[in-house]
């Protein structure tokens, strides 16, 4: 419920953007690390994360409106990421980077996200630093919060 309340506060996009802009002006890069953090700043950081998690959650679960809005085609088979990975299970973000058997390459989580989009989901792979990729990564890692970091584990 805490999460919900926090994120509901970010739903009004214009005010969210203004808030970020305001923080950028008043506590911008030059002073970002020179003053003690305020509760408002910390809340904003959290809100920024949770907005990405929200968008990633929707993309991960095949929400057509969000995919359209972000101009991505993550699947053409009806399948969504969450159908093989409920609650982002078995995505193991904590194990990246690692040697990826599917591609025989050393890979990041983003590489594997694109592999899943292209192969099982038969969708169109997305730019590695795109907004959609960041949102998917945010959701997957948030959902696996607390898992122990084990880079390279197969």
């Amino acid at each position: 419920m805490t999460i919900r309340a926090t994120v509901l506060g970010t739903l009004c996009r214009p005010s969210f953007v203004v808030a970020i802009a305001a923080v950028a002006v008043f506590v911008g890069p030059t002073s970002a690390h020179k003053e003690p953090h305020t509760p408002e700043q910390l809340k904003l950081y959290e809100d920024v994360l949770m907005e990405e998690v929200r968008k990633g959650d929707l993309l991960f679960h095949g929400d057509a409106a969000t995919a359209k809005q972000m101009n991505v085609v993550l699947s053409t088979t009806g399948m969504a990421c969450a159908m093989c990975h409920p609650m982002a299970s078995d995505t193991h973000p904590q194990s990246y980077p690692k040697f990826q058997v599917e591609t025989s390459k050393f890979a990041t989580l983003r590489d594997m996200i694109n592999w899943c989009i292209e192969k099982p989901n038969q969708g169109e792979k997305i730019e590695i630093d795109s907004e959609a990729m960041k949102a998917l990564e945010a959701y997957i890692t948030w959902s696996n919060s607390g898992s122990v970091l084990v880079p390279g584990k197969h």
Binding site: I3, L11, T77, G78, S145
Partner: protein, 378 residues
């Protein structure tokens, strides 16, 4: 969430797993995933369309009083309309061909639910069309994906009563409907049928809640139809969901497992065979053994907690290789009580994990439930 699950699990163990109580070992059940060799060798050209998992399951039932026999199980086909997804169609076609090719033939087929993905008329009718080439007797139970678009209307027209019973060669078979009694989460929120279905069709959704259950009325019905059945004769119960508590957030359970146990407690040879989990699963609860069946559509990972200790996990999926390890294999899960659970999985030499790296469970996970489906307007 973990604390609540722990509490429920402790209660389940206290109630059901009392010292010395186990399923009767005189009923032998052999389970295997059946692949017809002649089809297997001819399959290379269509292999690209098949995924990595076994297509169907056959079950040998041996009971001292009667002749052994075999029946087949297919479930969780999750058909979309043909124009959207042909992979799932291809796998059903293949499963049907293989069951039809069984020699000697299976006595009957059980379809264990989730024929459709979104409950659409076209999806259900496609399923009927694909399964019609199978000439043996077919019995159907519903899955949640079949039900919540029109609340079972089309399913009922096609398949009739969702719960049923029959006797066959000394075994009483029961089909249960564990999906239709979900709590109403749609009326207050004024959801369209499609929205209602969408929440139900999302395994890790948080809106549909604890929808899996048998219901008092159906329990009374089961008690009634078992009243004349000898307590020591075998009973096989088919359900979409497992009849115990494995992982409630994904409805890998029925919420009224306590009441189910009350009804079944007097009977010593009860086997529950269920779908929904899309994975190899074995458990013993009181005097009932429970076997999870594979889907034709896609595998689901084991839940982050609650996997029964008696389950020998299946090998982790390699989503990139459609023909990984094709072959047959026999594995005794629990030789001691003579239950010879044997999976012969299409595309796999070894069905069960051989070492840690073969198992998705080798990477412990801590997972959070999703959050966006509880937010306006979702």
């Amino acid at each position: 969430m973990s604390d609540e699950l722990d509490r429920i699990r402790r209660e389940m163990h206290a109630v059901l797993q009392q010292l010395g109580v186990r399923p009767d070992d005189s009923l032998q059940i052999t389970r295997r995933t059946f692949i017809h060799r002649s089809l297997l060798f001819g399959a290379a050209s269509v292999g690209q369309t098949f995924a990595w998992w076994p297509l169907l399951n056959t079950i040998d039932v041996a009971h001292a009083a009667e002749a052994p026999f075999k029946f087949a199980w297919i479930s969780d086909t999750h058909l979309y309309e043909k124009s959207l997804n042909t992979r799932f169609v291809d796998k059903v076609v293949r499963a049907v061909q293989e069951v039809q090719a069984m020699d000697p033939p299976a006595d009957f087929l059980i379809f264990g639910g989730d024929l459709a993905q979104l409950g659409k008329i076209e999806e259900l009718e496609l399923g009927v069309d694909l399964l019609k080439d199978l000439t043996i007797k077919k019995y159907y139970i519903p899955g949640e994906h079949d039900w919540y678009l029109d609340m079972g209307k089309k399913w009922g027209e096609l398949f009739g009563q969702p719960n049923w019973t029959f006797d066959h060669k000394g075994v009483r078979f029961i089909g249960l409907d564990t999906v239709s009694r979900g709590p109403d989460y749609w009326t207050v929120k004024k959801m369209t049928p499609e929205e209602r279905m969408g929440h139900m069709a999302t395994l890790d959704g948080t809106v549909a809640g604890a929808w899996a259950g048998v219901g008092r009325d159906q329990l009374d019905w089961m008690q009634k139809i078992l009243a004349d059945w000898d307590k020591s004769k075998p009973i096989v119960i088919f359900s979409h969901n497992p009849l115990y508590e494995y992982y409630p957030p994904w409805n890998f359970w029925v919420r009224d497992w306590r009441e189910v146990n009350e009804v079944l407690k007097p009977y010593t040879k009860v086997t529950n065979i269920h779908g929904h989990v899309h994975q190899v699963l074995y458990n013993e609860i009181g005097s009932m053994r429970s076997i999870g069946m594979l889907a034709t559509s896609w595998p689901w990972p084991y839940a982050p907690e609650g996997v029964p200790k008696l389950t020998k996990p299946m090998i982790r999926a390699d989503p990139g290789d459609h023909f990984d390890g094709v072959g047959w294999e026999t594995v005794n899960v629990n030789a001691e009580d003579k239950v010879d659970v044997e999976y012969i999985m299409w595309g796999r030499k070894e069905v069960f994990v051989q070492s840690d790296p073969d198992s998705s469970l080798s990477q412990p996970e801590k997972l959070r439930p999703r959050m966006a489906d509880n937010m306006w307007p979702y």
